[in-house]
């Protein structure tokens, strides 16, 4: 009597392929540097710069609001007049600086470097950008890095 052998799907090549893909994806993650969660209404300008973004306080500027680390500190509609200061931004960044300096007093590994990332929408007016930079400077954040998307 003829014996029926059960048909079996060879899984080994598929598993090998999966392993390769997973290794590739993990490598890709390691090489892509900092990742950022951006609000949907924020589109970054493009640039040919290739300097890697380092971790720092993130100041988001859109056409509607200015936020620090996701906390809304000012409305763009209110930014007018000759006074370039943004009180909400200055207050938030000053608190952040004081907190970092207090930690730094107890832990020498933590240093306040005055670095901030300016994450601005490409359609934001230059006036808003200068106000944000000026206010950041007043709060002690003098090293502003503009975050851009690398041109392909």
């Amino acid at each position: 009597m003829a014996r029926h052998s059960e048909p079996e799907l060879p899984m080994a090549p598929m598993v090998a392929l999966f392993v390769l893909l997973v290794v590739f994806m993990i490598q890709f993650y390691a090489a892509s540097g900092m990742t950022m969660d951006l609000p949907k209404d924020l589109a970054l300008p493009k640039s040919s710069s290739t300097e890697i973004v380092e971790q720092a306080v993130k100041i988001e500027v859109t056409n509607d609001y200015v936020a620090v680390e996701g906390n809304n500190v000012a409305s763009v509609a209110e930014l007018n007049g000759t006074d370039l200061r943004i009180p909400g931004l200055i207050a938030f960044l000053t608190r952040h600086r004081e907190r970092t300096e207090a930690i730094s007093a107890r832990n020498p590994n933590v240093q306040f470097e005055g670095k901030a990332l300016l994450v601005g929408d490409k359609k934001v007016k230059y006036d808003t950008i200068t106000r944000v930079m000026y206010s950041s400077g007043l709060a002690g954040f003098n090293q502003i890095n503009m975050v851009v998307v690398q041109k392909q």
Partner: protein, 171 residues
Amino acid sequence: MSSPVSKGGLLKRSKQGEKRLFDVAMNITPMTDVMASILCFLLVSATYVQYAKMDANLPSTGASAALADTPEDEQEKLELQLLLTKSKKIMVDRGNGLEELEVAEGDTFNWAKLDEVLKEIRQQYPDHKDAILSADPDIEYEFVVAAMDVCIANKISNVSLAASAVKGAGE
């Protein structure tokens, strides 16, 4: 369909002393499941956008004061300033007044012309790295970044952003 297993065998001696082949195949289904889950997670959460940074400085008064104290022969001869106007004109000041660059066709700035001018300046002053960029308050941020991009491409890496120019300046 039967469970996906990799075929294999192990030779063992039975109670009667004869050698028999036992099927000891490893079940790779859980591993495949885990791999597929990890792969899906990585693909969904992967960011294909590469971010970069550009250094932005506000012009410091301290720098100007320090420059004023240095002997004249040590001072840089060039004080390069760029101005972007609302009507998409680029003005360049090499220390001898504002010079208006050719306007590009369409609703954009003439970056090619700026590139040409900066290349000229680089030839004349190979060590010069500073520029002050100013723009109309209503200019969009992307144009400021584009202007900085052209400067950096021409090795003018120390671009300071001046506070917004007076509305309508250079019109």
